[in-house]
Amino acid sequence: MFEQDGVLYRQINEQGRSDYEQMMQSGLYARLTRNGFLVQHEEVAKEKLGLDTDQTYRILQPARINFISYPYEWSFSQLKDAALLTLDIQLTALEHGMTLKDASAYNIQFEHGLPIMIDTLSFESYQEGQAWVAYRQFCQHFLAPLALMAKKDVRLGRLLTNYIDGIPLDLACILLPCSTRFSPGLALHLHIHARTQRAYSETLPDKSRGKSRARAVSRTGLAGIVQGLRRTVNKLNCRFRASEWGDYYDSTNYSRAAFETKRSLVRQYLETVKPSRVCDLGANTGEFSRVASEMGSYTVSFDIDPVAVDMNYRQVRTKKEHNLLPLLQDLTNPAPGLGWESRERCSLIQRGPVDCVMALALVHHLAISNNVPLDKLASFFDKLCTYLIIEFVPKQDSQVQRLLASRDDIFDAYDQAHFEAAFSRFFSIRRSEVIRDSYRVLYLMKKIEG
């Protein structure tokens, strides 16, 4: 994989030739791309890129994904859909005499509101009797986190940030409730799987006899395993406990009039900016993200609450919303760079900047609950965007009063004048309007260049 003049290419070496040819000629590529399962690509003449080496067989230019996201930023339903897609791709591949050699969750991205596989070179020729080499990876990347989220607590999905190759099965089994031992799918693919791993951990795979020994899996058996995994994943559902996440959704601080004013102001601001990409930070279930996405901007809708993100995603899926991507993000601890040299997975800031950031009803959470000084907030937004639509929520507001009720008011500098002064260091204020029926002010700002 390499980038040249801002375009992403993939290089296939001679070793990958036969697998690639089989994928293209068996009709697998056509079928997967037609169903929207696999990203499309074009073949590029290698001479054009000055790469005419003997080892290079083909150069591919895959269609670009709008915004790269990672499994630890997905909600439960997103991870589940990505898992089902991976299994469906494996079943399709088997029908074409091929098999997936990777089942990494990082090979799935979300585009047009739906999961799509981006690794065109994950397919290899299937040999009768061969087990699924990616079985363990599938269980670690998908089944273990999904089971933990569904059977224990939805927040355990965050473990994926720590374990870049998926959650170790023995750890998942310790955390899962005992009842999962009696659910056939979870017992086989997680509990017994972890035990066999431990039992054979000192046995080195025997390459000479490997395929002919008891490990030989018939094609019917292999399809049966994948179907079984699919049924197991399909049955997992997250019951969000209402008491924990409670009244998040109804307790807005707005009268109907204030809400409508705010919505029409956001629309006006967006119309002046006409951004192609928008990030909505603290989007909740995406009410205002939809103002942007419906105007044609590709919108990433971030929130800290897994339940809100899941509701948002399910709405995207049901209504087939093509340019909205809901993601989990804790802005007080945003996604870091991870993996080898911390560069395999990009941090949130590395994946920016975008044309426009919306931060509605967010500032008071960061400044008061999380004690971030206003100038630090301003410099954070400066890294993220060119235009900023931001709502200032003053101390008189009942939401801020609620936050202050449980802590000392040490926030002398938290007022509109200080807010404007802090942000004016990085942004020029283009518009500011008081939202009717409230004390809140909605700003449109533009980054000061240079």
Partner: protein, 97 residues
């Protein structure tokens, strides 16, 4: 009744498998070997289930309890006719035009 029997069989099988792999090991060399071996066993079971279902259906249709649908009963196609696995491809969930 048959559901109860199936359930008992599953519990019996799971207990057996758990006892089988109850050994203690220390170092964590390569978890890959165990995954391969487990697939050998699971694959065998899955294939056996498919074959058993195939003959069960044939038996039923022989006694006239069930309409014979020969195309669906080939082992390869068997699983995709399961009612609880809806394929995304057919309901167009992933499909986009």
């Amino acid at each position: 009744m048959s559901k109860l029997i199936r359930h008992l069989m599953v519990v019996f099988l799971l207990t057996g498998l758990m006892l089988l792999f109850a050994g203690n090991a220390y170092a964590y060399l390569d978890p890959g070997t165990g995954s391969m071996i487990l697939q050998g066993i699971l694959g065998g079971l899955a294939a056996a289930v498919v074959v058993a279902r195939l003959y069960w259906r044939r038996l039923l249709s022989f006694f006239g309890f069930r309409k014979d649908k020969p195309r669906d009963e080939l082992p390869e196609n068997k699983d995709s006719s399961d009612t609880d696995t809806q394929t995304y491809a057919s309901d167009g969930k992933y499909g986009r035009k």
